[in-house]
């Protein structure tokens, strides 16, 4: 059973009269010889780790060895300023929480990558908090995100070294947008529109981590990825259409990724990593690490 394009999945849903989550259960059961229970057990483990990683970053001390990240999630959550109410503030904090836990060698679920691991947990926990979504529904939402990720992986790339941050926080934002659209009752077509919006907003995003570490700007880009997911889902659910279909947007991310200079794809040598301050931080971080290990 093969799904090469999102349109294949939508066609399957129509033919079998199933929603996108159930289409992915069929896919996994048939290709991997698993039972429905085994598929859902795997999803439960992922969701549990996602929730735990949010909790950890929101409650425990998280200061990265480089010193670049320092309890930002808690700082944001405690802030009295709310640009768009507490929902956006807390969603922002949750994404950063997971980024901080990841950078501190905590346990996370890479979804789709470790560098973009903050987006889906923040989206899902925020849906639970703001819309009262049950965990059972979140498991189905995870299946919908896997549909998007599967097609993205086949036709583009999750690797920062191939598709830049577009492949990491971009694809994660698209997966998050799909989850939100699905959970708020969107049709399969609307889910695809949301994916299109989110990826178009991430088109050409470079991977330029300072010192090659998964910290700056990865962590704050995860937070912005969550906002991207909610805004994209908002547009799709209102009935706005992405003029370029999602499958074609995915194809465009592949083309753009191929055209991007290798210096801008996880080399630690271009973009923010190559700024005056970025280079200073790199020098300081690696010298202090060397001193510590002496």
């Amino acid at each position: 059973m093969e799904f090469d394009y999102l349109s294949d999945i939508v066609a399957y849903c129509k033919r079998e009269d199933k929603d996108m989550a159930q289409a992915m259960v069929d896919y996994e059961m048939r290709n991997k010889g698993l039972t429905r229970e085994q598929v859902y057990d795997g999803l439960k483990r992922i969701l549990l780790v996602m929730e735990e990683s949010v909790d950890q970053g929101m409650t425990q001390q998280v200061i990265t060895p480089s010193g670049m990240l320092n309890n930002w999630a808690k700082t944001i959550a405690a802030s009295t300023v709310e640009t768009l109410g507490s929902a956006l503030k807390m969603a922002t904090a949750r994404a950063i929480a997971v980024g901080e836990v990841n950078a501190c060698m905590g346990k996370i679920a890479a979804a789709p990558t470790a560098g973009s691991a903050g987006i889906l947990p923040a989206v899902l926990v925020t849906m639970m908090e703001e819309h009262g979504t049950t965990r059972e529904r979140l498991l189905d939402a995870l299946l919908v995100t896997s549909a998007v990720g599967l097609v993205f992986a086949k036709n583009s790339s999750f690797a920062g070294s191939e598709a830049g941050c577009m492949g990491e926080t971009g694809s994660a934002a698209a997966m998050g947008a799909a989850a939100i659209t699905y959970l708020l009752g969107g049709t399969a077509e609307q889910i695809l529109e949301a994916v299109g919006f989110a990826l178009k907003a991430s088109m050409g995003l470079v991977c330029d981590p300072v010192g090659g570490l998964v910290e700056e700007p990865c962590t704050t880009r995860n937070a912005v990825g969550v906002a991207n997911a909610f805004v994209s889902a908002q547009m799709a659910l209102a009935g706005i259409k992405s003029l370029i279909p999602a499958d074609e947007v995915i194809a465009a991310t592949k083309e753009v990724g191929d055209l991007m200079s290798p210096r801008l794809k996880e080399s630690g040598q271009g973009g923010l990593a190559n700024t005056k301050t970025g280079r200073e931080i790199q020098k300081r971080v690696f010298e202090s690490v060397r001193a510590k290990n002496r």
Partner: protein, 231 residues
């Protein structure tokens, strides 16, 4: 039909951060080396190549490899304290770094382990991203396997009938061989055999009993929270 990706290749692995290639994949290479040693390790010499050599500190690659050697999976929080725990277990380790080697994949680790029983093994593997790895060298033989299924590694005298006898020993116990790779050097043959189910002790004993067999080890599929295998 080519193998289709699992949804758990997209959602997962569950892992200790910060990097699926530089942390999770690195720990898996150490873990495979430990399985191939098949003894408590007393000494480890670890060579990190290319990107692994340059960025290992920031990504905990060094702690991850040592954690794998101690038998920790990629999602085991003890990876964070692997140096301290290795010291407690009496494991001595040493790192070497090769910054630029065109011979090796950008994220490559070579692990030489010596067991408390005196045996030793040398393994090189590459981390491909997303926690996936490829073992590329065992005891100087070029190999190519991903350790995602039950795998048997045999080194034997390259004599007529050796492959037939080994595959026969596996088939006799009702296991199906999914893939088999053979490489040769001098008078020895290396066989990497991927099997559908776990290879039992009886089969191992049978293969070990052939006088022309020098080395036989099994590698069990990697365990992590996102796979279907319960810990």
């Amino acid at each position: 039909m080519s193998e289709q990706p699992s949804i758990f290749d997209i959602l997962g692995p569950i892992m200790i951060g910060p990097s699926s290639s530089h942390t999770a994949g690195a720990s898996r290479i150490g873990y495979i080396a430990r399985q191939l040693l098949n003894d408590k390790p007393a000494r480890a010499v670890i060579t990190l190549y290319n990107s692994f050599a340059k960025t290992h500190k920031g990504h905990g690659t060094d702690r991850a490899v040592v954690g794998g050697i101690l038998g920790f999976g990629p999602d085991d929080p003890r990876i964070r304290q692997s140096f301290e725990l290795a010291r407690d277990e009496g494991l001595q380790w040493e790192f070497k770094f090769v910054g630029d080697s065109a011979r090796f994949h950008s994220n490559t680790a070579r692990v030489r382990l010596t067991g408390v029983g005196g045996g030793s093994v040398e393994v090189a593997g590459a981390s491909l991203g997303g926690g996936r790895i490829k073992i590329q060298e065992i005891e100087g033989f070029r190999v190519d396997f991903t350790a995602t299924t039950h795998t048997l590694v045999v080194i034997a005298d390259d004599i007529p009938g050796s492959i037939r006898n080994i595959s026969g020993a596996i088939a006799d116990r009702g296991s199906n061989i999914a893939n088999m790779y053979v490489s040769r050097s001098e008078k020895l043959a290396n066989m990497v055999i991927e099997v559908d189910q776990s290879i039992d002790k009886e089969t191992l004993k049978k293969i070990e009993s052939f006088p022309w067999v020098k080395f036989v080890r099994r590698v069990e599929p990697m365990i992590d929270g996102s796979s279907r295998y319960e810990k």
